[in-house]
Amino acid sequence: MIREFGSVRAVSAERPASGAARTLLAALVNPPAGSARRHVLGDRLAAGALVALAVIVMLAVAAPLVTPHADQGRGATSIEDKLLAPSLAHPFGTDALGRDVLARVLFGARTALASGLAIVLIGVVAGTLLGATAGYVGGWLDEAIMRVTDVFLAFPPLLLAMTVAVVLQPSLENAILAIAITWWPWYARIARGQAISLRERHYVRAARGIGVSHPMVVLRHVLPNVMTPVWVQATLDLGAAILTVSALGFVGLGVPQPTADWGAMISEGRIYVQTGHWWVPTFPGLALFVTIMAFNLAGDAVHMATSPRGRAMQDA
């Protein structure tokens, strides 16, 4: 999956900065300075991605105001209008239950964005706590936590998430939890690496020297400085998280009907490929594709701006 791809690239993301939001902004507003032959295409793509993301988020938030069929976006049916081809009244056509596909796509964006964010946040919190503790404490605890991390990384992620989701019974919360279980180990590894390098820093030792307790040192001095590369990785992973939750929706393990979900909508559209009602699966898939791409491009920009190697690649 994409997230593995992301982590391959971003293992070296270590440049300290302060907070992902600022990094993202810096990356997009101020492309790396001093580069005579900057990758102009890269900047344009990144800027385009940010605009696209802003539009997607706004459309998701304002979905009930954007579409005249908000009730259908929430699930109300209108059987007499079933499977209408795209027209001015229904730009994306209607589905088998007569619901406006555009309204479903807009409401589906809420599901996608919220679940993607939730997965990454749970993963970041769990992974960072475990990883930072492992790296800071060291010894057998470090060994134990990291071996558990290895085990979770040994499963192909989507497969484990599917199994867990089946065991927990299908619902959006369970899908998010199932994916988060496969998500945290990446952040644990990054956080551990950072914590090890911080452990011997003077200010951390000084804090210990004046009698600050270990948990307090981790909370106040280690965690804040561990976070930057973790956030970078998290932005890289958002697109993958949304893709994964859609994949669970596609196999029927996501949010139950009638809540709109892109994966489930694509899955419902499968049978219409043979009957020519192409719009039913095409538009939700297009929305998913564009969203993932926007997140990937934004993630790339963050990575380029934060890793020395990424910058070198961009500037060379």
Partner: protein
């Protein structure tokens, strides 16, 4: 660390990870709400029958006993019976694994055959028009949801152009008039070995769409990895020296630089496998491909829990072995890894 010690260390680690994967699977299987015996027998089973099946499946034994039995069964390939097909799962797996592996192997070959040369050329012509096009193409590729691409390709190539079949491994007429003798389980290989060219052409036509869909992400991934490590290598002094010595550019790129750049790129092989196998779960049912993926999807739709665990375990073990082989291959190619200068795994 010597080569032998590195090898042993990696083997032991891989075994420990496998044991850990079994533990995690066992733990998950024990938080299942509901009684496995009831799931097995169906909702209308009598109380006595359920008690009998509980005893039969050993569900009343203490947890450690159950765990040891679970591990020893898994090691022997005893995954029990599918709730749905009522057949031993291992038999279903043996039938379906080759079909999936055929797709995965073809997708991997395609990924390397397209991704590596494209990555080398993009790096060689850094920031050129070709490099930019490749960058856009690879971003499109890694962002493409496989299950959506599968439907789009079906629309184009089956419904609108009528060029390629909708799904299955062979068309019905072919499997009736020119059945493929099973030797390896790979239709393409078996048909070629037996000289059954009618079936071979039909099998190729059926494999094109699923393989292209499965290869889309791996091609982009391989391209980006190759490009990145080629850029690193091309900046090194021995390349400059080779250029100064007047070596042909193709010689420099594909023989000198790629030899070094390929080592980090090999890491993608494990990822490509993981992606293809999970991708197979999503797209095999779209293409009616009778492999592990559609088996797993059927299991998901039918709450066939033992099948889910069996597929997850088997695929995870294959994944661990592939990652082990990739690590060993990298160590073989790059002495720095086996001598412990850079920390791997």
């Amino acid at each position: 660390m010597s080569g032998i010690r590195y090898l042993l260390r990696r083997l032991v680690l891989a075994l420990l990870v496998m044991l850990g994967a079994l533990t995690v699977t066992f733990a998950i299987s024990h938080v299942i709400p509901g009684d496995p015996a009831r799931l097995y027998l169906g909702a209308r089973a009598s109380e006595e029958a359920i008690v009998a099946v509980r005893a039969d499946l050993g569900l009343d034994d203490p947890l450690p006993v159950q765990f040891v039995r679970f591990v020893s069964n898994a090691v022997q390939g005893e995954f029990g019976y599918s709730y749905r097909t009522k057949r031993p799962i291992i038999e279903d797996l043996a039938e379906r694994l080759p079909a999936t592996m055929e797709l995965v192997v073809l997708a991997t070959i395609l990924a390397l055959a397209v991704g590596v040369p494209a990555g080398v050329l993009a790096a060689a012509r850094f920031a050129s028009g070709f490099d930019r096009v490749m960058r856009v193409v690879s971003i499109l590729g890694v962002s493409m949801p496989a299950f959506w691409l599968a439907l789009l390709l079906q629309l184009f190539f089956f419904l609108w152009l009528d060029l390629l079949p909708l799904g299955g491994r062979l068309s019905q007429t072919t499997s009736f008039l020119h059945p493929v003798t099973t030797l390896t389980g790979f239709h393409l290989v078996d048909a070629a070995l037996t000289g059954n060219w009618v079936a071979w052409r039909d099998a190729v036509a059926h494999a094109i769409l699923p393989v292209v869909v499965l290869a889309t992400f791996p091609v982009s991934l391989t391209l980006r990895m190759t490009r990145a490590s080629m850029l690193d290598v091309l900046a090194e002094t021995h390349i400059t020296a080779a250029r100064a010595a007047g070596l042909h550019e193709r010689e420099i790129l594909f023989r000198l630089a790629l030899k070094n750049a390929i080592v980090p790129t090999l890491t993608v092989l494990g990822l490509v496998f993981a992606f293809s196998i999970t991708g197979a779960v999503l797209i095999e049912s779209i293409f009616k491909w009778p492999g592990l993926g559609s088996y797993m999807l059927d299991a998901i739709l039918n709450d066939d829990i033992p099948v889910l665990f069996a597929v997850t375990l088997v695929v995870t073990v294959i994944y661990i072995v592939i990652n082990l082989l990739v690590d060993l291959l990298q160590a073989g190619l790059d002495p720095r890894i086996r001598l412990g200068e850079s920390s791997v795994g």
